[in-house]
Symmetry: C2
Subunit: 75 residues, 2 copies
Amino acid sequence: MSKLAVALGETVRRERKKRGLSQEALAAIASLNRTYVSEIERGLTEASARNLQRIAQALNLRLSELVRLSESHND
Amino acid sequence: MSKLAVALGETVRRERKKRGLSQEALAAIASLNRTYVSEIERGLTEASARNLQRIAQALNLRLSELVRLSESHND
């Protein structure tokens, strides 16, 4: 998959762990499937902006902030 | 489609026109289909982050900046 998918996945995992959330909990808050969240975290799928926004909101982030965090860790 | 898709589409169209680019030109620079770019601009498809990144790069923007612009026009 793309470098972007990998970078976004690493950021989602990092921010999720910071908040002490399991993948199951994050998936439930974001109304997404746990397997799908796992694939996103591992950079195995090219997620839609809309589903990344659901994840960002579950982490109390704006989508732009989630993306910015992934960029700043991967420049 | 989602409010996000509509907001992103409006932002892509606005930034494209600012640069005097046609949809065809933007699609060519971004290595995407012209029809797909048209659907994104009209908010008719939930684009992947990766394809939105291609469009952002074709507009000399970072993906986070493209998303931020769409948020600031739709709060």
